[in-house]
């Protein structure tokens, strides 16, 4: 995909993100995420590392955001806060109306199961399960009937172009195909947020573009809020909004060029 193509990506607006996006009373887009003075520290040997340092950030619903920055700058930590994988040391993280920073472990798990889809750099597929079974793992509460689970997983796989590979193990798939399975797994439960941590980091350039086309497509079609952590400027340029994290502090880089 070229920069010209990137510029054709629609900007976030109530119309663009569709009916599922919450709107404010005034008709503007309601924030999907609201981070206020978020700090996250980790003990590391004899010192404390500040991964996030007083981050204030609002991400509107339906926005595609790219997060860049040097290694160790706090990108993945920010993604974990957004994904309800961890709680801040101080400050608040709100997902819609939910305060993730005050939620218990069970509530965080429920939020992840209901609202958030993850795509990882290393795909993180279960090696012993087939592609369609991996997609089925997204039904986290285990209450979805088997037939419905399988049918929805097969539809999700078909939507990423892997209907014919449903019964293959991850080891029998290419890197790009594995990432497609991971995207299908993230989307099958119809989340409101898709968080991608270096989704193209392990892929060659051609496959990277395929995956980004796919992610943009589902973002556009489903009105998702999409946050992508990436080192790749080509990937970042496709986002509506670019953030840069250095030493735990977030700066707006601006919209895509």
């Amino acid at each position: 995909m070229t920069d010209t193509d990137a510029r054709t990506i629609p900007t976030a607006s109530p119309t663009a993100v569709g009916e599922t996006c919450p709107t404010t009373a005034s008709g503007g887009t309601a924030p999907m995420y609201t981070l206020t003075a978020v700090t996250k520290t980790y003990p590391q040997k004899k010192r404390t590392v500040k991964a996030l340092d007083g981050v204030d950030l609002v991400i509107p619903a339906g926005q595609m955001v790219a997060v860049q920055g040097p290694t160790g700058g706090g990108k993945s930590t920010l993604l974990q806060m957004l994904g309800a994988l961890d709680r801040p040391t101080s400050g608040t993280v709100r997902l819609g109306d939910s305060d993730l920073s005050a939620a218990g472990g069970r509530a965080l798990a429920a939020a992840r199961a209901r609202e958030v889809g993850f795509v990882f750099q290393g795909f993180n597929l279960i090696p012993t399960l087939s592609a369609v079974e991996n997609v089925e793992t997204a039904f986290a509460d285990g209450s979805t009937p088997r037939a419905e689970r399988r049918a929805r997983a097969e539809v999700a796989l078909a939507s990423v172009g892997l209907a014919e590979r449903a019964d293959h193990l991850p080891s029998e798939l290419s890197g790009g195909q594995q990432q497609r399975v991971a995207i299908a797994r993230a989307l099958v439960k119809e989340p409101t947020v898709l968080l991608a941590d270096e989704p193209t980091g392990s892929l060659d350039e051609a496959t990277r573009d395929e995956i980004m086309d796919l992610l943009e497509g589902v973002w556009r079609d489903r009105g998702l809020t999409l946050v992508i952590v990436t080192h790749d400027s080509a990937v970042a340029r496709r986002a509506q909004r670019r953030l840069r994290i250095v030493d735990g502090k977030v700066d707006e880089v601006g919209p895509a060029a």
């Binding site: 994988l85 472990g105 290393g122 399960l129 997204a138």
Partner: protein
């Protein structure tokens, strides 16, 4: 999803599954074999004890013999006019006695009535253990000799002392002054003819003739043990001299255990035995059946309180009287076998736990990912526990199969164990210096049944269930530890550790 994921994990981590299941199988098989052999040894002990005490006897009451209480021991006294003198001067003498068995103390038969009146007693009967001895022989004509003494050894010819000796004795068994004596002894038990519910004959079956009926009270009738009848060449209708009185053989019995003889060589009505032995209203043993198996220990205590001088024993007490290689096997199974089972079982559990925890460590990214997908800690714990449980079950099933195979091998080989059940212990000095076979001596015990027992290992559903239960417990324990470790993983850290 649960089962699919579980089966995929077990089949794809085959090496771990095989190792954990094999360890569990080894432990379970060992538990089954040891438990089975223990039960087999216990059955063998019961078989030996039943041959002595009968079936259904929960408690026995005996009296410990006082040191020296038996007086001078077995002796045969002949007066100068006893015997029949032949033409060559030889004198033929014969005498039969019936007395309390060596090491046996008798007590008043009123004890039985007291026992029967004790709360918790279902049935009780009394017996009198006796020993019949007969002496017959030919003495030479000592009248031609001087003042020499008789030989001190019943089987040697001529005197052996240094007295004045005008001429050697003449006549005798060999016609040259020799002597020949026959001494025969057999055990006799006097029992109540109508008591069929409890007592030594409850473990015997009638081979020939009939058993006692209440009409036999006071009669000179005898029932013989098959082994003794065969050796003495006696059959139903023959006559057996007991204590100088001729008894008619009315029946022959054999132990229901193929491995053991009955408790006594001959059985006679109790009142007849008392009269012949001069032990009027005396008994030596009381056999008691408790009304409830759970009441045995309480009954033992009650009876001990009622008869403080008596020895009151339960079956478990009596089991200690079984000696021989059966006893050694019992000790071996009871101590070494049990401890070996415990150690191997603990090792198998530990192995299962370590492998499960190591597996959780290897699958950190996997569990972190599942948590990121929204899997709850409980669901992850269930998944890990399920995998361990199935590993344990596989080990349990294989272990049961191997254990049953081991039991089959033991039963095919059927190792023979020797056993001797001893009923009463004589105190120091009990008995006396008499010539009786099985004479006294310090602490000597009277063997009531000596036999070889082929070990048969039973298979019971309870042992199999116990084994499977242990396998399940082992799997659950490993799963609980592994699941706990997995649930403790924080998703952010789990994913970060991979990065």
């Amino acid at each position: 999803m649960f089962l699919t994921y579980l089966l995929r994990e077990l089949s794809n981590r085959r090496k771990q599954t095989v190792i954990v299941a094999a360890g569990m199988a080894l432990a379970i098989a060992l538990v089954i074999v040891v438990s089975g052999v223990a039960a087999g040894v216990k059955d063998a002990q019961s078989s030996v004890l039943e041959s002595v005490y009968g079936v259904g006897t929960d408690v026995t009451i005996t009296q410990t013999a006082e040191p020296g209480a038996d007086g001078p021991g077995q002796e045969f006294a002949f007066g100068s006019g006893d015997g029949t003198t032949a033409d060559d001067g030889s004198t033929e003498v014969a005498q039969s006695t019936l007395s309390a068995a060596r090491g046996t103390a008798t007590f008043d038969s009123s004890v039985l009535a007291t026992v029967e009146g004790t709360d918790g007693v279902s049935a009780a009967t009394a017996t009198l253990s006796l020993q019949a001895s007969s002496f017959s022989g030919t003495l030479p004509d000592f009248s031609q000799g001087g003042a020499g003494g008789a030989g001190t050894d019943g089987a040697t010819g001529g005197g052996a002392d240094a007295g004045t000796q005008a001429a050697p004795p003449a006549g005798g068994a060999d016609g040259a002054g020799g002597s020949a004596f026959d001494v025969d002894q057999f055990s006799v038990t006097g029992l109540e003819p109508g008591a069929a519910a409890v007592g030594p004959l409850t473990s015997a079956e009638l081979v020939e003739g009939r058993g006692f009926t209440s009409d036999d009270a006071g009669a000179d009738v005898v029932v013989l043990d098959e082994t003794y009848a065969t050796s003495a060449e006696l059959a139903v209708g023959d006559t057996l001299s007991v204590g100088g009185t001729d008894f008619t053989v009315v029946g022959i019995v054999a132990s229901t255990s193929s491995d053991a003889a009955t408790a006594s060589d001959a059985y006679v009505p109790l009142d007849t035995a008392q009269a012949l032995s001069g032990l009027t209203d005396q008994i030596s043993d009381v056999y008691v059946t408790a009304a409830s198996a759970s009441r045995v220990d309480a009954l033992e205590a009650d009876l001990q309180a009622a008869f403080p001088d008596a020895t009151v024993s339960t079956q478990s007490d009596l089991a200690s009287s079984v000696s021989g290689s059966l006893s050694t096997a019992s000790d071996l199974v009871g101590k070494l076998g049990t401890w070996l089972s415990v150690v191997v079982l603990a090792a198998a559990f530990l192995l299962a736990i370590l492998f499960t925890v190591a597996g959780v460590g290897r699958r950190t990214r996997e569990f972190g990912t599942l948590k990121a997908l929204g899997w709850s800690d409980a669901r992850i714990t269930r998944q890990v526990a399920g995998e361990s449980l199935v590993q344990g079950l596989i080990g349990g099933v294989v272990g049961v199969a191997v254990g049953l195979l081991g039991i089959l091998v033991v039963n095919v080989v059927a190792p023979t164990l020797s056993a001797a059940a001893t009923a009463q212990a004589a105190g120091p000095g009990a008995g006396g210096p008499g010539p009786a076979v099985g004479g006294g001596g310090p602490g000597q015990q009277i063997a009531q049944a000596a036999t070889d027992v082929a070990l048969h290992v039973p298979v019971t559903a309870s042992v199999v269930l116990l084994a499977v239960g242990l396998a399940v417990a082992g799997g659950l324990l490993a799963g609980a530890v592994g699941g706990w470790r997995a649930s403790r993983l924080r998703p952010a850290e789990a994913l970060r550790s991979v990065a």
